[in-house]
Symmetry: C2
Subunit: 335 residues, 2 copies
DNA sequence: CTGAAAGCGCTAACAC
DNA sequence: GTGTTAGCGCTTTCAG
């Protein structure tokens, strides 16, 4: 900061052209001759000039910023450090940048409840990406009803008037359960919280597979954290002994917590109990035995989320969309 | 969005006062009578009014936005999904929000190299928090030299003209190594990349402990990922057999990768090989055996980072600062 | 304690 | 192709 801040007008004077020409040139407006554009862009670089985004946003009424809200339930221990959610945020960041958009990070605890007002009305951002449906869609719906450009990572099958991108959770739950059945499991525990939108679908898939195989379902409802899973499986073993031979966990973190409880009691994985998780986080591959999982295509989903948001920003409408999933079979379910 | 956007002037007209009064009232300026303030704030809420941040930023020349840059080396596989880095970002987010600041998320790949120009000159943000020193401090130094308010999460002992907040990595490395020695290990491998600032300090601590115990150091330099650790330990075992009885890993992810290689070969942890990691991520507690680790106080560090940035924004200077660490002893090192 | 008025730096009609 | 000009909506002196 040796020299005081240049303005567009200063630059125009330096170049001997008008401010509009400089403005257009720096925004790569094809109205301006290529040669002039190059010259002015070079000059800007040389003088370390950068458009004042505040002024440009005020004038043009758009920000090129997208608010990303990590939507956690108030009553869960699932934290903002959940590896899967953060992986999604990372991918969204990449997808946004590729479109020249910036990412304003928020979470559902800090921003006030009125997202439309806080983010859009105040011109903080042009649109919103919500990561996670949580148990209540009230905030999301309110914002969508207020006409805010909005997309959600969640369960695409939830009826909604805003686009939801996410995995086929029902299919994922079914595939995971069928995989366990194919491995010979007969008493499969579903470990997770069916009250949560995405997990509810996984649970439905589980129930379908269980019913088709004519065996008895066994749902253990827990908060979706490793710790809760560890405690729940411990308790189950204490209360009823080894009354199951398979676990379909609603996430990898939950599966890993369950695995720990099993390993501590020398219950063999996969021989005594086979396990499948969900998300395919990095740890699934690194755990021992490695954890089978349903892999969600977060990268593709992020690109779709940004595309659909962009569509809305241009006044078009966009639909919910399912992204493919894949069963990754590893040691925890192979016997 | 039923009604068209209100402006401050509209609101002033509605209330029968001037725009300056409304502006002051909404910004809680004590010049305005409490009663008037309350009335106007209530009116704003009622009409769903929100100040246009673009206009207010343009006028006041400050944004209340802080850019957080995740600073990764170009040549590492350590990804933006690294659980530790993301945990730090989450904590910073909280700390910023508590001060009424917003978080613009970036990473070193997307933003151009000239941070001063891109973030500050353009008025995208008032200051920068860099998460991770990486191997090169060139970008950071350039920004700091340009007079940008800037703080860094990294190794506080690195000489610098900007404040660095981070753990006492030297002490952490030493404590971890001494802990392994106390557990009876005599051939301790250091697993990590000493070329990286923070890890270099951990390595120095390791070397000090090793020298004091009069045993031989053994450094295995790898990219700081689980996968690289898994492969390196596998290779080492293939080449030289079980030539070590302890591993001091530069991070928990690295430690977990190493653990997998050991477990696959039925090498007992901690009896054959004792292990200590670094970071104390959630998985350390959930792995089996649970992983001993050096816990970094990320929450305290985040608060300090924000404080020091704020100090700079107010024209004061700020110093680097060390936050305390703690050895968490778990099964992987207890014998 | 409140009001009047001058801009912050840029963009986009509208001219030429 | 390029220039002139009128604001975008707010904050902040300065006056009272």
């Amino acid at each position: 900061m040796t020299d005081k801040k240049l303005t567009l007008a200063d630059l125009a004077k330096l170049a001997g052209v008008s401010t509009s020409t400089v403005s257009r040139a720096l925004n790569d407006n094809p109205l301006i001759k290529q040669e002039t554009r190059d010259k002015l862009q070079h000059l800007a670089k040389q003088h370390n000039f950068s458009l004042n985004t505040a002024a440009s946003r005020l004038r043009s009424q758009k920000t090129n910023v997208v608010a990303v809200i990590i939507n956690l339930d108030g009553d869960t221990e699932q934290s903002i450090s959940d590896p899967f959610l953060l992986k999604v945020v990372g991918e969204i960041n990449l997808a946004l940048n590729k479109q020249g958009l910036e990412l304003l990070l928020s979470n559902s605890f800090m921003a006030s409840d009125d997202w439309a007002n806080y983010f859009i009305n105040s011109r903080r951002a042009d649109g919103i990406i919500v990561v996670g449906q949580g148990k209540s869609q009230a905030n999301i719906e309110a914002a969508a009803n207020a006409g805010v450009p909005l997309v959600v990572w969640g369960d695409p099958k939830t009826p909604s008037n805003y686009p939801i991108v996410g995995s086929d959770n029902y299919l994922g739950g079914r595939l995971a359960s069928e995989h366990l059945l194919a491995a010979g499991a007969k008493n499969i525990v579903f470990l997770g919280d069916p009250g949560h939108a995405e997990i509810g679908e996984r649970h439905r898939g589980y129930m379908a597979a269980i019913a088709a195989a004519n065996v008895t379902p066994h749902v253990v409802s827990i908060d979706i954290t490793s710790r809760a899973a560890y405690q729940a499986i411990n308790q189950l073993l204490l209360d009823k002994g080894l009354c199951f031979d398979g676990i379909m966990a609603c996430s990898d973190m939950v599966a890993l917590g369950a695995m720990k409880a099993l390993k501590e009691r020398y219950i063999s994985i996969p021989n005594d109990v086979a396990l499948v998780g969900f998300d395919d986080i990095a740890m699934a591959d690194i755990s021992h035995p490695s954890l089978s999982s349903i892999k969600q295509n977060t990268q593709r989903a992020s690109v779709l989320l940004v595309e659909k948001l962009l569509a809305q920003l241009m006044g078009h409408s966009a639909q919910s969309q399912v992204v493919e999933i894949e069963l990754i079979s590893r040691q925890s379910s192979q016997r």
